[in-house]
């Protein structure tokens, strides 16, 4: 009895001591509860407040994580489950920014604004999703990873189905759930292997790494494949990318923009922590080869499939797959300090994805764009929208003078450096493919400006774009220019954050 009590006291003390590091998550949870509660009221004025409440919550979390200052009494990870290091903190900043952008985009979205039922739900789920992303970035325990991924997934399934009257949304939601459940199962299975190998789920500890070395390499590889399957699903890397085009086609655009950034960023951070166990080139050659093949497959499938797409949504889905390929590629630059390059890439990805999806949202809602051809001539009527589209498209391709180029340059530098260090031909293959596929990427991305400017529009309607949309478009574009001309501003800060462990 006493032993039990002592154990309980210890646990409680640990929780209290570590709770300080989880302030952002608590804050998100509080705002979530607040939203759910206020959603119960029927009053219109309260309903109208809900998005702004969500925005306030996300903003305060963003500010909190940018400013820092919340700390724990101990240096231990929270219950050996969650760690609040610089990586998680920067991730948290990106996630809350993604959340804010999603709300801002949703406020411009006609159907979402007119939503009669479940509007509060939408914003509440958004907060839960961001909470889940934060937990993903902080997890150092496989079980916790599973829980947080599932939190994100469940929120994602429902968010996909926000506009229930749309047939495509229902189809997309169903596909998403089926794929998601399958990959979650596979992942859990793999995790059980790792528990068996090492006797621990804390996958960043030394005990875990030591345990792995003692097991047969083949078994580890199989288990790694199983676990990575779940992670790849989240970042939409091949061969687990099949949900992406359908979901991108069916879900409301603010949600799509969030999916193309939030879960992808969190997923890659989880993979980053996970693969740090497999840096030993001799013991884990197979795992590295596997990752390399996955990166190559993702790059090739993403880029080449995008070539044949007729609708902008599917095109961007495959573009998002190809970006997952580049993200995987960074992780293979073992032996170089690739974390800051990765975080820089994620930051740029955030702005350009939200930018291009906002362009798409405006085009869809104002000009009824459904296929690429519907873009015809819009750029001539709306030069501002056209120029912004060009900026985002060029950044996505990775051409100067936009931050997308800088991000790719950093990634490629890391890979080249890793190749210099290890002489691993796979890295060179990856590098060459990564660079040359930019040419392929240009070929499909350029279709958007091509239709915007080269083709003529049949109807000469004069439609206006709201100032708030224009402002948002400029807001997403500005960092892309700034981060090209002064990337060191962000890189310095990232380096600073990364040096602080807790």
């Amino acid at each position: 009895m006493n032993e039990q009590a002592a154990y309980l006291t210890d646990k409680l003390n640990a929780i209290l001591a570590g709770a300080g590091t989880l302030v952002p998550e608590f804050l998100l949870a509080i705002f979530f509860l607040l939203l759910i509660t206020l959603d119960l009221f029927k009053s219109e004025s309260i309903k109208r407040l809900l998005p702004w409440l969500a925005l306030t919550g996300l903003f305060s979390v963003l500010a909190l994580q940018v400013l820092g200052g919340y700390t724990a009494a101990t240096d231990e990870p929270f219950l050996n489950l969650l760690v609040s290091d610089g990586l998680a903190r920067y991730g948290g900043i990106l996630f809350s920014a993604a959340g804010i952008f999603t709300v801002l985009m949703a406020l411009q979205h006609r159907e979402l604004e007119r939503l009669k039922e479940g509007k509060g739900e939408f914003y509440a789920l958004l907060l839960i999703l961001v909470l889940g992303l934060n937990l993903m970035a902080k997890s150092v325990n496989l079980l916790m990873v599973f829980l947080s991924i599932e939190t994100v997934s469940i929120a994602s399934y429902i968010l996909t189905l926000t506009l229930k009257q749309e047939k495509r949304a229902v189809e997309a939601g169903l596909k998403y759930i089926l794929y998601g459940a399958l990959s979650a199962g596979i992942m859990l299975y793999g995790m059980s292997f790792f528990y068996g190998f090492t006797g621990t789920l804390a996958y960043t500890t030394e005990a875990f790494a030591l345990g792995l070395v003692q097991v047969d390499g083949l078994l580890v590889t199989i288990a790694a494949i199983l676990v990575l399957a779940g992670f790849f699903f989240k970042i939409s890397a091949a061969p687990f990318h099949f949900w992406a085009p359908d979901v991108y086609q069916g879900a409301p655009l603010p949600v799509v923009a969030l999916f193309s950034t939030g879960p992808k960023m969190a997923g890659i951070l989880v993979i980053l922590r996970f693969v740090s166990n497999f840096t030993d080139a001799t013991a884990f050659a197979d795992v590295q080869l596997l990752l390399g093949v996955a990166a190559i497959a993702t790059l090739v499938i993403g880029n080449f499939t995008a070539l044949w797409q007729k609708t902008p949504r599917r095109l961007l889905a495959y573009s998002s797959v190809s970006h997952a390929g580049i993200l995987l590629m960074v992780l293979l630059a073992l032996g170089t300090s690739y974390t800051s390059s990765l975080l820089f890439y994620l930051t740029v990805l955030l702005f350009m994805n939200f930018g291009i999806f906002l362009v798409l949202q405006v085009s869809e809602q104002r000009f009824g764009v459904k296929s690429l051809e519907d873009f015809s001539g819009i750029g001539r009527v709306q030069p501002f929208l056209g120029v912004m589209a060009i900026l985002y498209v060029l950044s996505l391709t990775g051409l100067p003078p936009l931050a997308g180029f800088m991000a790719k340059l950093l990634v490629f530098s890391n890979v080249w450096e890793a190749y210099t260090l290890s002489g691993n031909t796979m890295l060179l293959t990856l590098l060459i493919l990564g660079v040359l596929l930019t040419g392929v990427a240009l070929f499909y991305y350029i279709k958007i400006p091509y239709y915007l400017f080269f083709k003529r529009n049949q109807s000469q309607e004069k439609l206006v774009i709201s100032p708030s949309n224009k402002l948002l478009l400029a807001l997403f574009a500005l960092p892309l220019l700034v981060l090209f001309f002064k990337p060191d501003l962000l890189l310095h800060w990232i380096e600073q954050l990364l040096t602080q462990t807790l």
Partner: protein, 581 residues
């Protein structure tokens, strides 16, 4: 001379573009006037620079730059990779001065030629000015990153200028141009990544190590000390400052010892030293731009579809970026591979000369004929460069300059007939000399200048290249003599296609294809056209009769350049081949 003339040269068109942006769309004439003013200022600055440039300064590509501007632009640390440094680094030497002057002149001509554009003038002028900014930036940048930025940025304005204001097949031509050049620049990007991760800035590294307070203070002794320490692997990777500076990349002592592009690294890929592969990639990237056979196929399409002023710009200055890149970047950074692949480069040059000329001979479209003549003439640049003799390289630079003037004239001349008849097929016209005598005079001048008649600048260029080529077996031993002999046939062919075209279109009894008779109003040259053609003709003559006007400026740089490249090339080639065995 003030210190910011180079920046002013680059950003004057951009400033004009910002002004244009503020003007409302319907003010077409003021928009064009602003563009004209901007380009006139740029030309003025270029001429000012030309006169103030001291041709007596020894330069070799690695040092001896004038009017240098160097400011730290981007600097960041990537953990164990050390610091990365990107500079805003500009300078001119004898090679770039000629290109700057050319860009200044052609920029103005292009605006005058654009006066006939009526469709979406504001957008057109904006893109035109952006294009000029980036081309000028390319010729002045001494930092690879900055160069690459300008190099890539040329694509986009060009893509839209061809794709929106071009002819019937403009979309196809624009995409083809874009994809070709982008693939080329991706090759360049690959090598750029390899280079800047391997090369350090000795001065900045000295500062990082505490040897000097500021990089400008680190003298030769300090630099030598840092370089020695580097080669002994005695500098911690945290102190290394990697750089994009092109002159720093030319110094083998600046390469990090275990980096793959180091001369002694012994790294091979597919049985070729990695440095050779890097050279080939860079060469391919710039050869697309030159363009050299077999990667020239985008050029005829782009030229035929582009509106006249854009064709002028494309032929006169954009193509020169390719040749310039070879001289500024490829050869001095990889002199070993330059020596090793001399026959390949020279051979492709000769192939371009002959194949381009043969194609020109077969063309029915006057503009296509001139596009292929561009391919043919740019082949001389490759041949001259590959010979690595002083005459040959001088000839290559002279060819770029002279071809810039003459091809501008040629495309303007085509534009004149196209404006009037909306057609430019050679077999649709006969005896035009009767209807347009003055125009015919200018056509004759342009054709003769291009085919290398003595007295015109093209003659000097071709002569120098051929002298260099013939001297190469003795002087450098890099090229076999028969290569140059074959190139001479190119001259013959170019005389053939020009004279034949002249005979078919302009001489004989006046006749015009019946379908064109109604639309075509064959008036002679207008004042605007005189304004463009007369200065170009005068310049072509001037630089043909007084070659020292240009050779005095470029001579010493070229001498220094060839010495450096040849000497380093032989040394390093020996080292590389010895590490292989």
């Amino acid at each position: 001379m003030n210190n910011f003339i180079l920046s002013s040269l680059i950003f004057t068109p951009l400033l004009a573009a910002l002004l244009v942006l503020l003007l409302p769309v319907r003010l077409q004439q003021p928009i064009k006037a602003v563009a004209l003013a901007g380009t006139l200022v740029q030309m003025g600055l270029a001429i000012l620079l030309y006169f103030n440039f001291d041709g007596a300064v020894l330069a070799n590509g690695q040092q001896g730059y004038q009017f240098v501007e160097k400011v730290n632009w981007i600097g960041f640390t990537l953990g164990s990779l050390g610091r990365f440094q990107i500079d805003y680094f500009l300078g001119v030497d004898g090679i770039s001065i000629s290109m700057v002057l050319l860009t200044g002149i052609v920029g103005v001509i292009g605006v005058i030629s654009s006066w006939t554009i009526t469709k979406n003038v504001k957008g057109y002028i904006l893109l035109y000015l952006l294009l000029l900014t980036s081309v000028m930036g390319c010729f002045l940048a001494l930092d690879f990153f900055l160069f690459y930025l300008f190099f890539e940025f040329m694509l986009l304005p060009m893509y839209f200028l061809i794709g929106i204001w071009g002819g019937p097949k403009r979309e196809y031509a624009a995409i083809k141009f874009f994809i070709y050049t982008l693939v080329g620049s991706l090759f360049i990007l690959l090598v750029m990544i390899g280079l800047y991760t391997s090369v350090i800035d000795p001065q900045a590294t000295a500062v990082q190590m505490g040897f000097a307070e500021q990089s400008a203070e680190a003298g030769k002794a300090v630099v030598a000390q840092v370089q020695q320490m580097l080669q002994r692997n005695a500098i911690s990777s945290y102190n290394l400052v990697r750089t994009f500076s092109i002159p720093a990349m030319m110094e083998p002592a600046n390469f990090i010892p275990n980096s793959l592009l180091h001369v002694l690294s012994g790294s091979v890929l597919w049985d070729l030293p990695l440095r050779f592969i890097a050279f080939l990639l860079l060469f391919a990237g710039f050869a697309i731009k030159v363009p050299s056979v077999p990667v020239h196929t985008w050029l005829p399409d782009a030229h035929v579809e582009a509106p006249t002023p854009i064709s002028v710009l494309l032929a006169a200055i954009l193509l020169k970026v390719g040749g310039y890149g070879l001289i500024r970047i490829v050869y001095p950074i990889f002199p070993d591979a330059g020596a090793y692949f001399a026959v390949l480069v020279g051979g492709l040059g000769v192939l371009s000369i002959i194949y381009g000329a043969l194609n020109a001979l077969a063309m029915n479209d006057l503009k296509k004929l001139i596009a292929y003549s561009s391919v043919s003439h740019m082949g001389f640049v490759l041949l001259g460069l590959a010979s690595l003799t002083v005459e040959g390289v001088n000839g290559a630079v002279y060819m770029m300059f002279s071809h810039g003037l003459i091809s501008a004239m040629l495309f303007l001349v085509v534009g004149v007939i196209y404006d009037r008849a909306h057609d430019r097929m050679i077999h649709n016209f006969r005896g035009l000399a009767h209807m347009m005598p003055v125009y015919t005079v200018f056509v004759v001048i342009a054709f003769f200048a291009s085919l290398g008649l003595p007295g015109f600048s093209g003659f000097i260029a071709e002569l120098l290249v051929l002298v260099g080529g013939f001297g190469a077996p003795e002087a450098t031993g890099l090229l076999p003599r028969w290569l140059t002999v074959v190139a001479v046939f190119g001259l013959l062919l170019s005389a053939a296609y020009y004279l034949w075209a002249l005979q078919r279109m302009f001489f004989g009894k006046y006749w015009i294809f019946p379908g064109l008779r109604e639309k075509a109003i064959l008036t002679d040259l207008t004042t605007r056209e005189y304004l463009m053609l007369v200065p170009l003709a005068i310049l072509a003559l001037l630089f043909g009769i007084f070659p020292h006007l240009l050779l005095d400026k470029i001579g010493l740089t070229v001498t220094g350049f060839t010495e450096l490249v040849l000497q380093r090339g032989q040394e390093q080639l020996g080292l590389i081949l010895s590490t292989l065995r």
